[in-house]
């Protein structure tokens, strides 16, 4: 079985990991257009070459980042997300104005 080097737990069988998709920048959910949000959620580069992607080590619930070649399946590097994310990403969706408010307004 393929072995993946988890930055937290060391080398483990690939069956312990869940793929989390290409790393991409999240647009501001409060100000982006539907198209931009769709681009973020559904579209991807999906090219052959080295990509930066999320992985989860499922038994320990630990998310990390890998650089992997999508043609050869070689994993060049795995590292803790703190290398890229220096501060916590806050995700707060704008509160939708509810219908009842509109009616009373």
């Amino acid at each position: 079985m393929k072995i993946i080097n988890c930055p937290l737990n060391g080398p483990r069988n690939s069956s312990e990991f869940v793929h989390g998709g290409e790393l991409r920048e999240m647009p501001d959910p409060n100000n982006c257009t539907d198209r931009e949000w769709a681009e973020y959620v559904f579209y991807s580069d999906n090219q052959i070459g080295v990509i930066t992607e999320w992985w989860l080590h499922a038994p320990s619930g630990y998310w990390f980042i890998a650089e992997r070649h999508t043609g050869s399946d070689e994993i060049l590097r795995t590292y803790d997300p703190s290398e890229i994310f220096t501060k916590r990403v806050e995700f707060s969706a704008k509160a939708e104005s509810s219908q009842s408010e509109e009616i009373t307004a």
Partner: protein
């Protein structure tokens, strides 16, 4: 059955078919009205219908490898229309109908064989899902019934009714379920297209796409440049890579999909059997081999290698369904590159580039749609208008959050 077969049967001499082969390779012309990228089933079917129904024959199909050597050669040839959405059922039922007439139309046997497909429910939730699919099918053209364990036992006496301690509660019996010889489908379309004047260029790889003022005007290949009026892209697992040449980004991720086949044994299994809960489907070919398939690999990759992990997990489940298979030997294994969309429906129609048409996102389920894809894509090219049948599959559905969700009806059945 093609009528020529009957003629051969009555012939004393070894039957000799004139024009049995494809035309010899020729030089690329400098201009084609239509360039089709990808010589899989979808590409050659589009060329065939363009020539047959629309009289458009200045067409080149450009294939980087050999005719039908991509997923067309690698699929497990499940043909069915028991999908979940009305859009899906309407579309796939048309394809099943076209498949039924193909041998006669080509005068070439594609070995279409209607076996019926049985999908197993191991939970109440699955039974509810099957009820819905049965009703949707009845309304939109598929022939599907919900059947009980006794009927399942009669259809497939060798099936273990309690595989992996997950009792079989009901079955979705799809009478139209079938298989066909996948290579023959590609050959039949290619032959029909080239006889009508279409050019098929194998070993011709598209390496670039020329777009001027938002409109495609040509392609670059390893054999030189070609200008063209429009392009149809039908490259399955390479969809994102080729689309990027035209500056198009797609909602597609490429995953390997593996399958395998055993040594041949006496016929014992007529229907195609699949269990979504066990991520596994099994069918017996006309030669007696058992074909197994399951879901795609767990992470994206552009590689057609086979893995031990997949064999272990898939065969463990297959042996649960048919325990005596534990003594059989695997004969071949292979993989293909599947272009997966998040809603398990295809991407067909217009693209952000004018005159550049997409036939992609066929993932693990696009063999069965080969005829109807060819027909609708040809209509789109010839008329410039998106046929109603494929309107729901426009790439722009992702921008408006109008997915056509077929995941439940596709994941382990193809």
């Amino acid at each position: 059955m093609p009528f020529s077969l009957l003629k051969y049967g009555l012939n004393k001499d070894y039957p000799f078919e004139q024009n049995a082969d494809l035309p010899a390779p020729s030089a690329l012309k400098s201009h084609y009205d239509v360039v089709i990228i990808g010589g899989g089933g979808h590409g050659v079917a589009t060329a065939y219908y363009l020539a047959k129904y629309h009289g458009i024959t200045n067409v080149a199909v450009l294939e980087k490898g050999y005719l039908g050597g991509g997923n067309t050669a690698r699929n497990t040839a499940v043909i069915r229309s028991n999908y979940l959405t009305s859009e899906g059922v309407k579309f796939y039922s048309e394809s099943v109908k076209l498949f039924q007439g193909l041998s006669n139309e080509f005068d070439f046997n594609i070995m279409y064989s209607r076996r019926g497909q049985l999908t197993l429910a191991h939970s109440d939730a699955a039974v509810r899902g099957f009820r819905q699919r049965t009703e949707v099918n009845k309304h939109f053209g598929g022939k599907t019934e919900l059947i009980d364990p006794q009927q399942i036992r009669e259809l497939v006496p060798t099936l273990n009714m309690n595989p992996a301690d997950q009792p079989v509660l009901a079955g979705l019996w799809h009478i139209d379920g079938a298989t066909a010889r996948h290579d023959a489908v590609a050959w039949g379309y290619a032959k029909g297209a080239t006889q009508r004047g279409v050019e098929l260029h194998q070993l011709t790889e598209v390496t670039g796409v020329t777009v001027e003022q938002g409109k495609v005007t040509g392609v670059e290949t390893n054999r030189g440049k070609v200008s063209c009026g429009c392009v149809v892209q039908a490259v399955a697992g390479m969809s994102s890579v080729v689309a990027a040449m035209a500056g198009i980004r797609m909602p597609i991720t490429t995953y390997p999909l593996q399958a395998m086949v055993t040594q041949p044994v006496k016929p014992f299994l007529d229907p195609l059997v699949s269990s979504p809960a066990l991520h596994c489907y099994v069918q017996q070919t006309g030669r007696g081999e058992l074909v197994f398939g399951g879901g795609s690999d767990p992470y994206p990759l552009y590689s057609t290698r086979s893995t031990m992990d997949l064999k272990e997990s898939l065969l463990a489940h297959a042996v649960e369904l048919f325990p005596f298979m534990a003594n059989m030997r695997l004969m071949r294994q292979w993989g293909g590159l599947t272009d997966m969309t998040s809603d398990y429906s295809p991407i067909m129609g217009l693209s952000p580039v004018d005159n550049y048409y997409l036939d992609a996102g066929w993932g693990t389920w696009g063999f069965k749609s080969t005829p109807i894809c060819g027909k609708t894509m040809a209509e789109l090219v010839a008329t410039g208008k998106v046929p109603e049948l494929i309107e729901p599959f426009a790439m722009s559905r992702f921008d408006t959050f109008r997915q056509v969700n077929e995941m439940g009806a596709t994941a382990a059945s193809h």
